[in-house]
């Protein structure tokens, strides 16, 4: 170490470190791809990406209706972010772990958490987040940024155990301002944890635009602070998302440490159903993003490849609607947990005081 420090001497004003940030895009708005960057995907896999996005969007629209009808509570829509969520989630292996925020409904759907349980959760019922034993996705985390250290801890634990898994932490552009983002990424760098940080930069944190969230030109460059790679991708391009995530997960599993992926996308809807985005952003801005729709461009691509037809689409929509109908039906059929349920999960065992309190019921 001393030797390395000595080498600095007698070099008055010099450049001692340089960095750059790359941007990856594969599929453009017209449905054309850059062949050299296209990840190897079978037709079936491409269809799966597309169909899952369609399901995510259909679910999202239904959830918004249910909220308007007062049948679920506040809901955070994902419209516009389907490629980021589905493309990254489908790059996961079953044994990988996932740490979402409150806006990852598309991720929950893609990894296989039952849609009716997602509705149940947004309806105000914790039981909707009782994840199946063979799925490794964390329950929704509402406090912004706070779950990122959990992802790093899980990754460190996997490394300690010698489990060859990867971990994904999702968060928003706003989330990068929290201290926990910083502490987590710094830990990940120091411990070379097998974790992939996916920032869904949807340009807004409620009413605060990206430029007011940080003076950094890109979110990706924040990785420089932690000594590992950051990359920006077109977040409305599911092939770019899939490729970047796959690569980063593979790197993590190889033992080569973390990656920060800035998925550059847009929140097409209000922040949540409690928000009115027209108070702080223009219609023009939103409309400028319409042609960049993440689903549309895959459809165009599939059409060119002969993978898409009107009939296919109709079938798909029917199947999807049926699945969402079923989710709605199931969610509404769930029996109320009843007040005693409040006491069941605070501790592994009920306490003396709680037992007395339970007598009220």
């Amino acid at each position: 170490m001393a030797a390395c420090m000595l080498s600095f001497y007698h070099m008055p004003e010099e450049t001692i470190a340089s960095f750059s940030v790359r941007r990856l895009a594969v599929l453009d708005e017209k449905g054309n791809i850059d062949e050299s960057l296209m990840p190897p995907l079978s037709d079936g896999e491409i269809k799966r990406l597309y169909e899952t996005m369609v399901l995510a969007r259909t679910f999202d629209q239904r959830a918004l209706s249910l909220q308007r009808e007062g049948r679920i509570g506040t809901y955070a829509p994902i419209a516009g972010q389907e490629a980021t969520q589905v493309g990254s989630a489908l790059a996961l292996e079953k044994s990988d772990w996932v740490f979402p925020t409150f806006r990852e409904n598309g991720v929950y759907i893609a990894v296989g958490h039952p849609p009716h349980m997602i509705l149940q959760y947004w309806g105000g019922d914790e039981r909707g987040l009782k994840i199946a034993e063979d799925l490794h996705i964390f329950p929704v985390s509402i406090p912004v940024g706070t779950h990122i250290p959990h992802a790093v801890g899980a990754a460190m634990a996997a490394k300690y155990r010698g489990d060859k898994i990867g971990v994904i932490a999702y968060f928003g552009d706003g989330g990068t301002s929290e201290g926990d983002f910083h502490e987590a990424l710094n830990f990940a760098g120091v411990f070379k944890a097998p974790v992939v940080f996916i920032c869904e930069n949807n340009q807004w944190a409620i009413s605060v635009p990206r430029e007011k969230q940080t003076a950094a030109k890109t979110i990706a460059q924040k990785a420089v602070a932690y000594g590992f790679e950051g990359i920006q991708i077109d977040g409305n391009d599911i092939f770019a998302v899939y490729k970047a995530t796959k690569d980063a997960l593979a790197k993590a599993k190889r033992g080569d440490g973390p990656t920060l992926i800035e998925s550059y996308t847009y929140r097409m809807s209000d922040h949540t159903t409690a928000d009115d985005a027209s108070r702080y952003r223009t219609k023009e801005e939103v409309e400028a993003w319409l042609p960049k729709d993440p689903i549309l461009r895959v459809k165009l691509f599939m059409e060119k490849k002969g993978l898409w037809s009107d009939e296919y689409q109709k079938d798909l929509e029917a199947k999807t609607k049926a699945a969402v109908d079923e989710a709605e039906r199931k969610a509404e059929a769930v029996e109320h947990a009843g007040p005693r349920d409040m006491f069941a999960y605070t501790y592994g065992k009920i306490t003396g005081r709680q037992r007395k309190e339970l007598e009220d019921f």
């Binding site: 509570g73 309806g123 019922d125 509402i142 929290e178 108070r279 109320h336 409040m342 999960y345 309190e357």
Partner: protein, 320 residues
């Protein structure tokens, strides 16, 4: 006199005080262009400009920490934390710095800072949007804790809080924001800190509450000859008003929204058990939320004390 709800009353207090005092600045997440997620700061940025009504990055410790620096420099920052459940990252700044700056510098620097925060359950909000952890801040010498129960008092207490030379946590019940309107005078009037008020006189039992729970309490006491006290400032609390009432009634029910163990109801009860024991005719009852993790909306009505639980406690006290 205008009839205002609590949102409007707080907005008015901020606007008027900013007009009077150029040192008052407002900062927080979404408080500027959006006017706050509850619209408390609506119109302020338009009127006073973005240098004075600042949309900050999403960072609670940063918001409070920067406010401390502003306060020490001579401003009177009013910081908003979007929900009380998101104040925890700022607990370090509040406890280790805001509360101690005066002491650490032997009065050379002070911290005239207000942290406004919506609190409380009952509005069907997602996780972490329903906290009532006021007790934590009442255990921090150097911090004042204020919890208004109506538009009129909210305005008057907020003015006192902004003018107070010490850091104040000002907790606003989301449930109360639009629940009722009340005469709220325009122009300057203050409701002093550290003073409770007797909302209703009575002989048999003293019921102490604050914030939203005061309203449940007022409903519940019907039929009892109850003296109802609105604590308003929790830390430091108005011992005299409380003790005077208990000397008279000899029975006490404390109603609070936080989970019982370690709540501020416990502090009040302990103070009474220490100072007023000889006047007490009955056990001191705490009607509080259960000692469980705050549930999501489907169960929250079971969690918070309802009028029935309060009435049961009153009836029980009257048995003695």
């Amino acid at each position: 006199m205008p009839q205002l709800n609590m949102v409007q009353a707080i907005n008015l207090a901020l606007r008027e005080e900013m007009e009077r005092d150029g040192d008052v600045v407002v900062l927080g997440e979404d408080v500027g262009k959006n006017g706050g997620v509850f619209r408390i700061t609506e119109g302020l940025q338009t009127q006073f400009g973005p240098e004075r009504v600042m949309d900050t990055p999403l960072a609670e410790s940063g918001i409070v920490g920067a406010s401390i620096g502003m306060a020490a420099y001579g401003l009177k920052p009013v910081a908003e934390i979007q929900f009380l459940g998101f104040i925890y990252p700022a607990v370090d700044q509040i406890s280790n710095h805001a509360a101690r700056l005066r002491s650490r510098s032997r009065g050379r620097y002070t911290c005239p800072l207000v942290i406004r925060t919506p609190y409380g359950a009952g509005i069907r909000a997602p996780e972490h949007h329903s906290e009532s952890c006021e007790a934590i801040f009442c255990h921090m010498p150097g911090i004042k804790v204020v919890m208004p129960s109506s538009p009129y008092y909210a305005k008057g207490l907020l003015l006192s809080s902004i003018r107070d030379p010490d850091p104040v946590i000002f907790l606003e019940s989301t449930r109360l924001y639009r629940l009722m309107k009340e005469d709220v005078p325009e122009g300057e009037y203050v409701v002093p800190l550290e003073q409770a008020r007797v909302v209703q006189e009575g002989k048999d039992v003293t019921v102490i509450s604050w914030g939203f729970m005061l309203h449940r309490t007022l409903q519940a006491v019907e039929g009892f000859d109850a003296e109802v006290i609105d604590l308003m400032t929790l830390n430091p609390f108005d011992e005299e008003t409380v003790y005077k009432s208990v000397r008279k009634t000899g029975r006490v029910v404390i109603v609070c929204e936080a989970p019982k163990t370690g709540s501020f109801a416990s502090e009040l009860s302990a103070s009474l058990a220490e100072e007023m024991m000889l006047h007490l005719k009955a056990p001191i009852a705490r009607v509080a939320s259960y000692d469980v993790v705050l549930p999501l909306p489907k169960l929250e009505d079971y969690y918070m004390p309802g009028t029935e639980r309060i009435r049961k406690a009153l009836a029980e006290a009257m048995k003695y």
